[in-house]
């Protein structure tokens, strides 16, 4: 049943209490809250209510892997592969192992694990399997298998366009340009008119169009490249690079007038973007190539000012990253920051937004993403442990309160008083009932429901009173609870200290990497600034020389 549920093909209703409890793990798991899912798993395991079997083990391994517990998941999969004869279980285990090696950047081992998959794969991981294999760069033969899978598989998946794109890139590397082009065209066809128009897929479609243009350029077909470049959106995450390529392509085709509008759009964007930095100086250069020295000079002067602003912004960014909470804010909002469709066109306003455009290239680095993910997990752990730290006072209060609570004698007195009251109200209710029966039928009906409600409430209170009276002694929490509370909270405090230590270490490392990236950015801006200044000086020189020549040609007044 579990494998069926995991595949998401046909959820079935829980048939036992264990299945009901397991559903709670799945609820967190399907929301990709792997931490809560693992806690729930351990909780149910400790309550001795957990489902058993190899499928549960596979599930646990996958869940641990998703939460970044690679070593433990490796152990689980190794054990499963040693013991299980079930093909489906083995295939799942090999797939997850490959995924784990990929996460650890051990690509040879990942590749070897994927090659161990035999026969038909479970349907729910087919697409992910092929996707992973594309990332690991499997051989030519496998490219054909994936191509066949894409050609024959039905059903929609958000991953499919990404698979097609990555397959195309691998096909280009393998020299299969025909299929690569077809796959890229398929991805490029995605538009905002698609029923599930998502920004990330629109960005991918832009990338595919850009790739098609580059392929055309490589083959010397500039007009075809031109066609593709014209279909790329001028807004969106990938528009900067596309506009720059468009500009370069127009220059290549000596259509300078076509290049200028694209570069003007680009040059108006934030100077923090590398493409904008390049566009500024390129725009001026095109004017120069066209012989329009006045406009060229104007653009060079504007470029120098923009580069000065860029260097100033870099300085501000360095100050931002040095602030205490910026890494946490940045990591916590990473998804929102990346999805923010506005940042590329405007000047950033919030502190951590300062970082985003400068770090775009860095954010595509696998190692950097891994570091940010670890940091993100650590921040989540810190939040969780701080929550438990706040609960500590409440737990102690509950325990202290019990010591101060009523004695057995007091409780007996309370119960006796309640019993007297209960008898009194019960008699009153009987009297009321008799009184109502003396009324006319319509009036009796009016009071029927209220009488029933009162009678039910009294009956429930009477039952509770009887239960309390039957107890010889009141409930007392076991003495070991206090020791357990103290012990576990001490462990939580130690874990919090450890978490803070790792956060400090990783934040320091991330700050260093960011700082190096900013150094590179600064070097590049300064390089363009120097180019612009040189060109400006050259144009001034030429202007002065022209003036001197014309002075020399002037007839003497004498």
């Amino acid at each position: 049943m579990l494998l069926t549920i995991m595949s998401g093909i046909s959820p079935t209703q829980a048939r036992s209490l264990k299945e009901l409890e397991f559903g709670v793990i799945l609820y967190d798991y399907f929301q990709q809250d792997y931490f809560s899912a693992l806690v729930e798993y351990e909780y149910i395991l400790a309550s001795e209510n957990l489902l058993e079997g190899e499928a549960v083990e596979v599930f646990k391994g996958g869940m641990m892997l998703s939460y970044g517990l690679a070593d433990d998941s490796e152990r689980i999969f190794d054990e499963l592969l040693a013991d299980s004869a079930d093909d489906e279980i083995r295939n799942r285990a090999w797939y997850y192992l490959a995924q784990m090696y990929y996460q650890r950047s051990e690509l040879t081992k990942a590749n070897a694990s994927l090659h161990k998959v035999r026969g038909t794969l479970p349907k729910d991981i087919q697409l992910q399997y092929h996707y992973l294999s594309m990332l690991i760069n499997m051989n030519r033969e496998h490219l054909d298998i994936v191509q066949n899978y894409l050609d024959t598989s039905s059903g929609k998946s958000e991953l499919k366009p990404f698979l097609a794109f990555n397959l195309a890139i691998n096909q280009i590397k393998a020299g299969d340009l025909k299929h690569a082009r077809d796959n890229l065209k398929q991805v490029a066809n995605y538009s905002d008119r698609s029923p599930d128009g998502k920004e990330e897929l629109l960005v991918l479609a832009d990338r595919a169009r850009h790739a098609l243009a580059l392929l055309a350029i490589e083959q010397g077909s500039l007009p075809e490249a031109w066609e593709h470049l014209q279909t790329i959106r001028t807004t969106g995450l990938y528009s900067n690079r596309a506009l720059l390529t468009y500009g370069w392509n127009a220059i290549e085709m000596k259509q300078y007038d076509e290049a200028i509008p694209a570069l003007v759009i680009l040059a108006e964007r934030s100077i923090t973007l590398p493409e904008v930095q390049e566009a500024k100086v390129l725009l001026a250069h095109i004017h120069e190539l066209q012989g329009d020295k006045r406009d060229a000079l104007k653009e060079y002067i504007s470029a120098v000012q923009a580069y000065e602003l860029g260097v100033a912004l870099l300085k501000e960014t360095r100050i931002s990253i040095a602030k205490k909470d910026i890494p946490e804010e940045f990591v916590s909002n990473l998804k929102a920051v990346m999805n923010d469709s506005d940042w590329y066109g405007t000047q950033p306003s919030v502190d951590y937004d300062n970082l985003t455009p400068f770090l775009l290239d860095l954010l595509s680095s696998h190692s950097f993403q891994e570091s940010l993910r670890e940091l993100g997990d650590l921040y989540a752990i810190r939040k969780n442990l701080r929550y438990w730290d706040a609960q500590r006072a409440q737990h102690e209060l509950i325990l202290d309160n019990e010591v101060l609570s009523m004695s057995t004698k007091q409780i007996v007195n309370e119960i006796n008083t309640s019993a007297v009251l209960y008898d009194k109200y019960y008699d009153q209710s009987l009297e009321l009932k008799l009184h109502i029966q003396t009324l006319g039928l319509s009036n009796q009906k009016r009071f029927e429901s209220i009488l029933k409600m009162t009678s039910d409430t009294l009956s429930s209170a009477g039952g509770s009173l009887q239960l309390l009276a039957d107890e010889k002694t009141p409930y007392v929490q076991p003495a070991k609870y206090r020791d357990d509370v103290i012990r576990v909270h001490i462990l939580a405090s130690k874990a919090l200290e450890r978490t803070n230590r790792y956060i400090q270490l990783l934040e320091k490392m991330v700050r260093n990497v960011v700082s190096r990236e900013l150094d590179q950015q600064e070097d590049r801006i300064k390089y363009y600034e120097a180019q612009a200044r040189l060109a400006k000086a050259r144009l001034y020189d030429e202007a002065v020389s022209t003036l001197q020549v014309s002075d020399n040609h002037q007839p003497s007044a004498e």
Binding site: L20, F30, V39, E218, L467, V488, L491, V513
Partner: protein
């Protein structure tokens, strides 16, 4: 299951384009003419790998710790003799899009929940929500659940279902189950005592 599903391969052809751009002599592209490389140096990568190992052990400890803390908290707040848990499940959800639920126990509103898309999706794939945990004395009780959402043809749909049950000694469970009635093309709301 891939933690970082949508990784896009780096497109190396960018190198070819600009380095072959002839006519511009004094402007050199530094933006897209460099082959992309991993921006994090080997020393930092090695450092992250080493710390990652230690973080794995911390994560594992924190999971166990959370389990222990939860067990202790539940033992303090909900002794096993009185503990009562209400679950909510959704089978398929073809004829009903669950938007919110309200739960009354013994005629008192005890909890309500509004569902996000992600939660709805998790439920429809077989996840079960632990909606409410409380203490109930032995004896007769009643539970009423009010479901709101979109019914067949996307029309607003409200339904309530109620049950009377006898709470015995020890932990007990109640499941609010929403399922589809294929023949009537309508959702079915049921309450099941475990």
């Amino acid at each position: 299951m891939l933690r970082n599903c949508k990784v896009i391969e780096v497109f190396v052809l960018a190198v070819v384009l600009i380095s072959s751009s002839g006519p511009v002599n004094s402007v050199e592209s530094k933006t897209i003419d460099t082959a992309p490389s991993d921006k994090v140096d080997a020393k930092s990568t090695e450092f992250v790998k080493k710390v990652s190992k230690e973080i794995q052990s911390l994560k594992k400890n924190v999971v166990t710790l959370n389990k222990d803390l939860r067990m202790i908290e539940e033992a303090l707040l909900f002794p096993s003799s009185t503990k009562y848990t209400v679950f909510l499940s959704l089978d398929s959800g073809q004829f009903f899009t669950l938007e919110s639920v309200k739960l009354k126990i013994d005629r008192k509103l005890v909890t309500s929940h509004v569902y996000s898309n992600r939660q709805r999706n998790a439920l429809s794939r077989g996840g079960i929500q632990k909606l409410y945990v409380t203490n109930l004395s032995e004896g007769k009780h009643s539970a009423t659940a009010f479901f709101t959402g979109l019914g067949p043809n996307g029309r607003p749909y409200k339904r309530a279902t109620t049950t009377e049950f006898e709470k015995g000694r020890g932990s007990q469970f109640l499941e609010l189950a929403v399922s589809d009635d294929e023949s009537a093309k309508e959702p079915v709301f049921a309450v099941k005592q475990w």
